[in-house]
Structure formats: C-alpha cells, structure tokens
C-alpha cells in the first residue's frame, strides 16, 4: 500500500491521540458524496431483481415501535407481523428483528420465542441520551436481562460535538461490556452531527469502540437516514474491514418509507460495501411503515394487480 494505515491500536490511547486520529481522516467531498448517492439512486431495478430486492429488504427490517403510547398488545401485534408479515402469502420472509423500548423487551421476547426473529431494544436513555452514565448502563442491563438480542444505544452528541471524543468512546466501550452476547448498534443521530466530516469521524469512533452495527439515527429528529449519510457510513465500514479485518454492520433508520427508497439503499450497499453486506446480519432498515409498502409491492408482483392499504395491517 502506498500510504501506511493509521496506527489504529494507538488511536484510542488518549483524548488527544483520538482527536488527532479522527481529525486526520480525509475530509468528505460533500458535492461528490451527494452526487454519487443520487446517481446510484437512479438504477432501474425491475421484475425478478425487484422481487429479490423486496424479499431481501423485508428480511432486513427491524420492525420498530418506539412510541410513548406503546402497549404490550401493540408489541405483540407487531411481533406477530414480524413473524408473518403477509398472512395472505406465507412465502413472505420474516423481518430481521422487532425494535422496542427496554421495558417492552420482555414482552417482545415472549412473543417471538422460537420464531427466529430477534428482539432489539433501544437503551441508554434513548433518544436523547441525556442521562447519567450509571443510568444509561442500568438501562442496557435491563434490556439484556429481559432477553434482548440486540441493543441500540445512542451516543452522547453533546460530548461528541464539543470534541470530547474519548468520553464518547469510553461510554460505548462500557455499554459494549454490558451487552454480553447481545450485538451492539451505535446510533449517531446524524441529523444532529451537522457535517459529513462529523459523520465519518463518528463512524470510525464507533467502530474503534467495538460497535457491531453503526446506525444513522433515532427516527425522532427532522433529518434521519439519507442516501448520502448512509453511503458515507458504508464507505467507513468497508475501509474499516480493509484495515482491521473486522466487519461492522450498517443500519439506516427513519424516513425510509417506500420500496423505491429501500431498493436505492440496497444498491448503495451492493455498490459500496459489497455483497458481503447484503444480508440481514450486516445491513438493517429501521422502519415501520416501510414494511407495508414492501408488502403491497410484493402483492403487485405476485398478482399483477396494484394492491392497496386495505390489504395490509394498520399498525
């Protein structure tokens, strides 16, 4: 290699070393990034390729309900939908996981037992992440104890934006330690990070700290997953694997509502990170209404008729 890889082992030795490393990452070409994301979004995916993409996308969904008004009944209904998304067509694949608040994790675990659908729980004072470290860790412990297979944590954006990278890093490390067998998804809330450079830095920071997945956003702010910020994170996981041999997953969340959008993201995955990521172990969609649109498109492909909202569930 013409350039030597950054000394990753030393990067996290101290706050200043970490800052040096993160600020030493190449700057993001904003115009180029957005143009590439837009260009990849123009691919025409039809017929059998579309059918494959729809099934793949369904199998990658973290079916999410994160509302103050969540009830055990709603979580159970969502779990039933995750296992059997389209009762009219049993060949429809299951979703990857159901994503709930920690206090609903036990309900979801019970409802999904033996189904193969995983339970993801948000934690660490989601979505703001504004709580004492001890409280955040307790939140994670609760979710893990309830049987969650995956933990979705939020980073401390306040600390990140004020440049205290090591604090963010140590928090992720501590949460990872609490996770045990559960896979850890680290949410950056890209809509609050202001710049693409920050998203690239956050991605590397999360991966260095041991994230199993890096995730764009909570779905609770104005700007959520966009093709451009997801493309940027896909580049980060690709480069990270090249340098360390460790593969990290990516999860765009929020704002992906149509089949067309989902297929655009799958094109990004294939063209950026590669086929290795085209699997629900390495790529997820955080979504709720997306599933209904995918099901309607799936029905269209199998019956030849356009479907309508009367033929999918109201969640």
């Amino acid at each position: 290699m013409p350039t030597t890889a950054p000394p990753l082992a030393d990067a996290t030795a101290s706050d200043s070393a970490l800052r040096r490393f993160l600020h030493g990452l190449p700057g993001v070409d904003t115009v180029g990034l957005e143009a590439r994301a837009a260009a990849l979004g123009t691919r025409s995916i039809k017929t059998t390729a579309k059918a494959y993409a729809i099934d793949l996308a369904i199998s990658m969904i973290d079916l999410t309900t994160l509302e103050g008004a969540d009830t055990p009944g709603k979580v159970r209904a969502l779990a039933a939908k995750a296992v059997n998304p389209d009762p009219l067509d049993r060949t429809t694949p299951r979703t990857a996981a159901v994503c709930v608040y920690p206090d609903m994790a036990a309900t979801a675990v019970a409802a999904l037992a033996g189904s193969g659908v995983k339970v993801a729980s948000v934690a660490t004072a989601f979505p703001a992440g504004r709580a004492a470290p001890a409280v955040k860790l307790a939140d994670v412990r609760d979710a893990v104890a309830a049987g969650a297979d995956e933990i979705d944590m939020v980073i401390d954006r306040g600390a990140f934006l004020s440049g205290r990278y090591l604090k963010v890093y140590e928090e992720i490390v501590a949460v990872k330690a609490e996770c045990g067998q559960a896979r850890l998804k680290v949410i950056f809330e890209t809509g609050e990070l202001s710049t693409y450079d920050n998203i690239r830095r956050a991605s590397w920071l999360g991966m260095l700290a041991g994230a199993d997945f890096i995730k764009t956003s909570t779905g609770k702010v104005a700007t959520n997953a966009t093709p451009a910020n997801t493309l940027l994170m896909l580049e980060a996981v690709r480069d990270f694997r090249e340098q360390t041999g460790v593969q990290v997953g990516v999860k765009p969340a929020g704002g992906i509502r149509t089949t067309k959008d989902a297929i655009k993201f799958l094109v990004l995955v294939n063209e950026t990170a590669g086929e290795d990521w085209l699997d629900n172990h390495w790529f997820r969609f955080g979504a709720s209404s997306l599933l209904n649109d995918l099901l309607m498109q799936r029905q269209k492909l199998s019956t030849g008729r356009y479907s309508g909202p009367d033929y999918v569930t109201v969640d």
Partner: protein
C-alpha cells in the same frame, strides 16, 4: 409571426395530486383535430402514472368526503366560475378537438359550465333524496344516509371532450368521492386544461386527477387496482370487449361498476349516433342529467338508534 414574435406553445401536462407532472414514462403522443391537423403533444400516461394518481386520490379522500356537503357545493360552483372566466379558451379547444363551429362549441362550453352549477346544487340535496328515516316496527330511529364509495376511476367519454367529461366527473366528486379520470384519448386537450381550472378552484389537490393516454392501457390497471372502489366505464363504450374485460377485473375487489350505457335505451337515437362517430358513448350529454350518475357511486349507511324512554304519557318523541 408577422410581428416577429416567437410562438409560445402550451405544454399540456397531467393533473395529479394538485400538481402538473409529465408522464413518469416520458412518453408523449400527438393530438390532432378531426381533420388531422396537429394540435399539441400530450403526455401518454403509463400504468405507474395511474398508480400515482390512485395514491393521490386515496390521500385526498378523507378530507374531501369529510368536508360538508355545503362546502363541496361551494367549491363546485367555484369551478363553474373559473370555467366561465376561461370561456374563450375552452371554446377554442372544444372547437378544435371536436371539429365544431365556434357557436356550437360555445354552446357546449356553456352547457359544461351549467353542468357544474347543476351538480353544485345537488351536493347537499342528494342525501334527502336517497336517504331518509325508515319506518321500523320497534322503538328505534332507523336512518339511512348515502356515503361516498371512495376512489372512483372514470373513463371519460371519447366523443364529448368537455361536456361529456364534466357530466361524468362532477357527479362523482359532488358526493364526496375522489376521482382518477382518463381523458378522451383522441381529444384530451379540454380535459387537461380543465385541470388548470380545478387547480384554481379551491378544490383540494388529489380530489380530481386527470390522465391522458391510451384508454385501454390505463383502464386495465385501474380496473384491477385493489385500492380503487368504483369504475365508470363510459369511455369504453365503443369497445364492448374491453368493457367486458374491465368489468371482470373490477369484480376482483367488488368495485362498483357503471356500465357504458346506463342512459335510457332509445333505439332511434342510437341509430342516429351510429351514423355520427362523435357520439359513440351512446349518450346525449346535453340532455337533463338526472341523478343516476350521483347515485351510482354512493353506499347506503343505515343506523339504528333507540328512541329512548317514551315517558309516562306514552307520547312520541
């Protein structure tokens, strides 16, 4: 061009969801007058445009069907007002489209404007005509009210580009349905211009969506669409085979179907129409419209309500 000014040609576009898009397919086709003189290029819509239009119509249905009948009447009257203001333009377009003289075209446009006024008046009266309190043997009020069917696909008549179109469209939206209209394939210009009138008449976007293109190509996906609740087959009047296929496809989700020839059977008039290709839809659009098109896309909801205690006197309510 004698004054050296460049011609400014109008780009005819679809009217979907309150916007004026081109066809998603990028296709256009040439529209000529009956003598073959080129008039304009118009979008040749695809089934995806039809699907988008249904999505827009479904989205608009809640607010439009929930609006008061009085408010709908005001808006329909407003459409008549706006059309009146563009009278000259429509006279020209109808004359070109149907090969009529200026005076005949003017009569057609006037009739179309009056048709909007007619249906504007009906919005808050149809309920009294087809609904009511039903006598039942029990201590109940039993009330029937008409409710709109939902999203209705309308195949506009092929021969009557404006009056026929208004005659099939206005009754559908007057009762609170939303519509996806497939304009006359050979004479779509007045329909596409009507979109501009609708857009400036306080009519919420998506209540009426107007597509131009080949009727058979657009009608098939609309007839089989699971989120369309009714279909008016008037525009398929000249093609019995097509009408039959569409009706079969529509049966899939139990759509309301309005068959092409619901107007009174009048053999001598039909014989006259047959000699005149303009009127293949078998309807005399200038005739009194009656209420059958209003009631074609209505569902009757009946409510039973206890009358409550009659009191010691045993008197009525």
């Amino acid at each position: 061009m004698s004054d050296g000014r460049l011609s400014v040609f109008k780009t005819y576009k679809l009217y979907v969801g309150g916007k004026f898009p081109r066809s998603e397919s990028g296709r256009v086709y040439e529209v000529t007058d009956p003598k073959g003189k080129w008039l304009a290029n118009v979008p040749q819509s695809s089934r995806k445009d039809a699907r988008d239009a249904v999505v827009a119509a479904r989205k608009a249905f809640g607010d439009w069907s929930g609006a008061t009948a009085y408010n709908r009447g005001q808006i329909l009257y407003r459409i008549a007002e706006m059309l009146e203001g563009r009278r000259e333009q429509f006279v020209r377009e109808v004359a070109d489209a149907e090969g009529l003289s200026k005076s005949k075209a003017a009569a057609v446009v006037d009739a179309a404007i009056d048709r909007w006024v007619w249906y504007a008046g009906w919005t808050d009266k149809i309920g009294q005509v087809v609904g009511g309190a039903n006598p039942v043997a029990g201590p109940f009020f039993n009330l029937s009210t008409p409710e709109p069917t939902g999203v209705v696909a309308v195949l506009a008549p092929q021969g009557s580009s404006l009056l026929g179109l208004v005659s099939v469209l206005a009754p559908v939206i007057a009762t609170g349905n939303t519509a996806v209209v497939v304009a006359s394939a050979d004479a779509p210009l007045p329909a596409l211009s009507l979109g501009e009138v609708l857009a400036t008449s306080d009519l919420p976007g998506g209540v009426v969506n107007i597509l131009s293109g080949r009727t058979a190509e657009l009608a098939a996906p609309l007839a089989s669409h699971q989120d369309v609740n009714g279909i008016d087959l008037t525009g398929a009047a000249g093609d019995a085979e097509l009408a039959k296929e569409l009706e079969a496809a529509a049966a899939e989700n139990l759509k309301r179907v309005l068959r092409p020839s619901v107007s009174r059977h009048r053999p001598e008039k039909e014989a006259k129409d047959a000699a005149r290709p303009q009127a293949v839809d078998g309807s005399d659009w200038s005739a009194d419209p009656g209420t059958h098109r209003l009631t074609a896309f209505l569902e009757t909801k009946t409510v039973w309500h206890p009358t409550g205690a009659l009191g010691a006197s045993g008197s009525s309510y």
